[in-house]
Structures are given as structure tokens and as C-alpha cells.
Amino acid sequence: MSTQNVDILHMRTKRTWSQDAWRLLKSAPISAKFGMFVIAFYFFCAVFANIIAPFGEAEIVGKAYAPPSAAHWFGLDQIGRDTLSRVIFGARNTIFIALATVLISFFIGGVLGIYAAVTRGWMDQIVSRIVDILMSIPVLIFALMLLAMAGKSVWNLIFILALLDSTRVFRLARNTALSVAVQDFVEAARLRGEGMIWVVFREIIPNILPTLIAEFGLRFSFVFLTISALSFLGVGIQPPTADWGSMVAESKTLITFGRPQPLIPAAAIALLTVAVNFVVDWFLHKTSGLRDGQ
């Protein structure tokens, strides 16, 4: 490594964090920029749904199945509610439910996973075996069964999915934390006499954060798809709450009459998850170049 290289690197550190972030964003490929724009737009809709939406979430404004018109761009649904408004409100409901689920999932899986990696020993063994078993049942199937038992409610949905999804987070958090925990600098911290808190928060977490952030994106899009699928199957988010998955299910018969209404909420789902995946793909490429194709 020549001294010239080192000097260039040194200059780089003098820039501020926000300048770095801005340069990074500017260097993003078109797909990632598109993804970020879409995500921002969706969150804007979600937060300001009641300002943007022309009509109320459960407000009946006309005839059932009315076709698109100037007042109702996407037409009306099976009991005469404005589809556009419900799509906008759906953004709020579905996104926040998915977000809550992933946050809980990361809390459970992340804490247990990092703890297991740092301590290893019997706790790690037991939790890892349980996770192996839970992961051998497909999430959708498991969720269907548990929801049938526990009954359909938003909180049941959130907790059941968070629990099932946390197994994936556990595995990733444990494996990445373990790969950091065996490095010499962690051993050096242990030899210094550092406690667990220091080792976890100062040595391990800063090194696994990029991976976890990327995983957060992927888990969000997976949970979002699962919630939509469950709602579509009728056991997820229940009416009259506007939600994209159930909106597809409610209007699905229109397809056979050649009307594309059900495609609108379905496309809304696809657009968001595709956008998240584009951003994550770029982020992964940027931070590690690993996980190619997973």
C-alpha cells in the first residue's frame, strides 16, 4: 500500500457523515434510487393518509363496483367505497403492521441471537435446536394453523408472525455475531477484562449492523408479503380495515369480468416489496458483496 493511497483515505475521513451519505446516495444505481423514491413515497402516503385520501377509509360513497371515473380514479369496491382512498389507507395499515412485526421479531431474534453467539454453551445449543425445529415448518403454514387456533386479530397476527420470523433473525444474528465473536479483536477485549456489555455493544454490534440493516429490509418485505398473503386468504387483517391483501380478495371476482381492479392493490404490494429489495440489493453489494442471490 503506497503512502499516496493512505493519504487519499485520510482525506476522506475529514468529510462529515452527511456528506458521505449524500455521496453514497448519488452513487447509487438507478434501481436503488427508484427503490428509495418509492419507499419514501409510500411512507409519505402512510403517514398522511387521512390528509391525502379523497374519501374516508370505510366511507360508502356510491354504487357497488362502480367503474373508474373522474371522482373515483380506481372505481368503487363491492360495497361502494372509494378504492383509491382505501389503497392509501391500506398503505398505513399494512406498512405499520408489518413494521411492528419486524421490530418485535428483531428484538426477540436479535437479542437471543447475539446473546447465544457471545455466551455459546448450553443456552445457544437449546435455542438453536428449537429454532431448527420451528424453521422446519413453513411460515405460512404455521401461521395459518396458529391463527386458526388463536383467532383472527391484528395483535395475534403481529405476535405470531413476529415469533415465527424471529427464528430467521435469530439464525442470522447468531451466525454473523459468532463470526465476529471469534475474531482476534474480541479476544483482545476479553483478555483486557471487558465485560459482556462492552463486548456486545462496542465490539460486536458495530460490525454486524450493516448485515442486520440489510436483513431488516428483507425481513420487512418477507413479512409484508406474508401478511398480504394471509389477508388475501382471509385470516390476516380483518374488514373493515383497509388492507391490500384483503382488498385483492374482496374484488377478485372482477377479474373474470375483465376488470383489472384487484390488480391495483396487488401492484401496490409488489411495488413496495420490489423497491425494498432493490435498495437492499444495492446496500448488500455496497457493504459486503456477500449473500449474492440469496
Binding site: P138, I141, A148, A150, G245
Partner: protein, 326 residues
């Protein structure tokens, strides 16, 4: 004992234990309900007598352990007990056996999955291999974006788009896949065309990304470079040096995606009203017919576990280190 045999047996044992644990989980989910299934079904206002009668009629009054062993013992022989549907009256002529309900549905689902696998697996492997060989080309980049988009879209989106264009706007296929036991084979095939195409698209996307990744990591091995520098022809490098080491990753890719297919069928069957086990499970969940739901869940989970087990065994028996111990 030969190390391969030993490892395979170990893996089989582990698979069996997993299956056992899964069956316990599936069974006990019914027990975990606060207040019991009866109260949840009949409502809180039900008198203790009604609850007791209900439980007795469903056989829920006996200890859980006994019922578990009966259930598992029956399941092994293909008997999943009696459906709750129509169980209120509990007259013998109304009794419907779960296995009788599941049987034809299972065949339909297997039909759909097999049809998908026949198309999807070879296409995905070939496309994935091409993407790996010509990586960073335009082909590779386009494939990357398209597959990422497909993976990220919900299955029902893909399904309805296909239905909208290929069945409604242009009447190429049947929009709905209603079949029954008397449907002739070829008509069954043509009615199942749209769900097959939907599943194929989704599976191919997943599978070719995984194929591409594992082939790329394989081709980066020093022994592949060595083979090139020995002056071997490109096809010799691939067939003689890459392929013998590729079985394990390929088996993993196929197993993972067939397992994924198992889940994918649920949504796709509902969209196309295809009478398979996925739709059955959704219906039974809706009507809280627990014996049916449990049986479906067990079948799904067992398939899933079995496929992964198979992939692991392929990896074990093709591992030269195990085949030829020191």
C-alpha cells in the same frame, strides 16, 4: 461402519426427531388455547354441560398424551381421525374421515407440484448456469432485475396478472382450475396450466438466483483455474471438474425450491380455485376444522423436512472426504 453410512444415519435420525418435534408442536397448538377449543368455538356463554358434551363428542375429554399417540399412530397409517365438520350431531352416517377428505386433494396438489417441477427445475438450472457463466453481462443484469422483481411480488399478483391477460383478455387458458376425480388426465393438465405457469415463474426466479450464486462460488475455486491452466476444454472443465463438486449445492437449491413450492401452492390454489390440499387447509382454518388443518400442516411440514433431508443426504454421499476417509 463406513463414515458415509454413519453420517447418513445420523442425519436420518435427526430428521426423524425433527418430524416428531414438529408433530408435537402441531398437535399441542390445539391444547394451548386458553379456555380450550370448545369454549372458543361455542362462545363464553356456553354452559359447562354443553362444553362437556361437545368435548366428549369430539373425544377431547381424554388426556392429551393419549390423544397425541392415537393421532400420531393413526397419521403414520394414513388415518388422521375424524373431521369436526358435521361433528355436532355425531351420527355415524355424518362422520367424515379426514383421510378421505385429504386423499383426492393430495393427489391434485401433487399433480400441480410435479407439473411445475418438471418445467421449473431444468429451466431454472439452465438459466442460472448461463447467468453464472456470463456474469456481469447484459443478460445477467436483466435476469437479476427480473428475478428480483418476481421474487418480491406476491404470488397472487403474478397469478392475477396471468389470469387477466391469458384467460380473460386473451382466452388461451381456463381462468379457473376446477377439476374433480372424473376429469380426464389431459384436461386436468390444461386446467392446471395457469397455476403451473404462476408457480413456475416464482420458482424459476428463486432457483436461478441460487444456482447462479452457487455456480459462481464453485467456479472461483483454485482447482477450476488449475483445470483451465492444464489446457482442458471449457466443457471438460465444467463436466469433469465443476460438476462432481456441484451436486451438493444443486441438490440444496432444488430441495429449497421444491419446499418453497409447497408453500406457494396454498395461495395459487386459492386464486385459481384448484381443489388441492392448500385450499383445503385455508378452508379448514376458516371453519376451524382442526383435525383437517392439523393433518394438512403435518403433511406440509413433513414434505418440507423430507426435501431438506434428501438434499443433505445427496451432499453427504457426494462428499469425497466422507466417501474416501483418510
Amino acid at each position: 461402519m463406513h463414515p458415509v453410512m454413519k453420517t447418513v444415519l445420523q442425519r436420518l435420525g435427526l430428521g426423524f426427531l425433527t418430524l416428531l418435534a414438529v408433530s408435537v408442536i402441531i398437535f399441542s397448538s390445539l391444547e394451548l388455547l386458553p379456555g380450550g377449543f370448545a369454549e372458543a368455538t361455542l362462545g363464553q356463554s356456553a354452559t359447562p354441560e354443553t362444553v362437556a358434551a361437545f368435548n366428549k363428542s369430539l373425544g377431547l375429554d381424554r388426556p392429551a398424551i393419549t390423544r397425541y399417540f392415537e393421532w400420531v399412530g393413526g397419521a403414520v397409517q394414513g388415518d388422521f381421525g375424524r373431521s369436526f365438520a358435521g361433528a355436532g350431531g355425531w351420527r355415524e352416517q355424518n362422520v367424515r374421515y379426514v383421510s378421505n377428505i385429504i386423499g383426492p386433494r393430495l393427489y391434485n396438489t401433487f399433480f400441480l407440484a410435479a407439473m411445475t417441477a418438471i418445467f421449473a427445475v431444468p429451466i431454472a438450472l439452465a438459466l442460472g448456469l448461463l447467468a453464472a457463466l456470463y456474469r456481469n453481462s447484459w443478460y445477467d443484469r436483466i435476469v437479476n432485475s427480473v428475478t428480483l422483481t418476481t421474487i418480491a411480488s406476491p404470488e397472487f399478483f403474478v397469478a392475477y396478472i396471468l389470469m387477466f391477460f391469458l384467460a380473460v383478455k386473451f382466452r388461451v387458458f381456463y381462468p379457473l382450475s376446477t377439476v374433480n376425480a372424473t376429469t380426464p388426465f389431459w384436461e386436468h393438465v390444461s386446467r392446471a396450466a395457469l397455476p403451473t405457469i404462476t408457480l413456475t415463474l416464482v420458482i424459476i426466479a428463486h432457483m436461478m438466483r441460487m444456482t447462479r450464486a452457487s455456480i459462481i462460488s464453485l467456479l472461483a475455486s483454485p482447482y477450476i483455474e488449475m483445470a483451465k491452466l492444464k489446457g482442458l476444454k471449457p466443457w471438460q472443465v465444467i463436466l469433469h471438474h465443476a460438476l462432481p463438486n456441484a451436486w451438493a449445492p444443486i441438490a440444496t437449491v432444488i430441495a429449497f425450491n421444491l419446499a418453497y413450492l409447497v408453500v406457494g401452492v396454498v395461495v395459487v390454489e386459492v386464486v385459481f380455485v384448484y381443489p388441492g390440499i392448500g385450499q383445503l387447509m385455508v378452508d379448514s382454518v376458516g371453519s376451524r376444522d382442526m383435525p383437517v388443518a392439523q393433518a394438512c400442516a403435518l403433511i406440509f411440514a413433513a414434505t418440507y423436512i423430507m426435501l431438506n433431508l434428501l438434499a443433505d443426504i445427496v451432499a453427504i454421499v457426494t462428499n469425497p472426504r466422507l466417501l474416501h476417509p483418510k
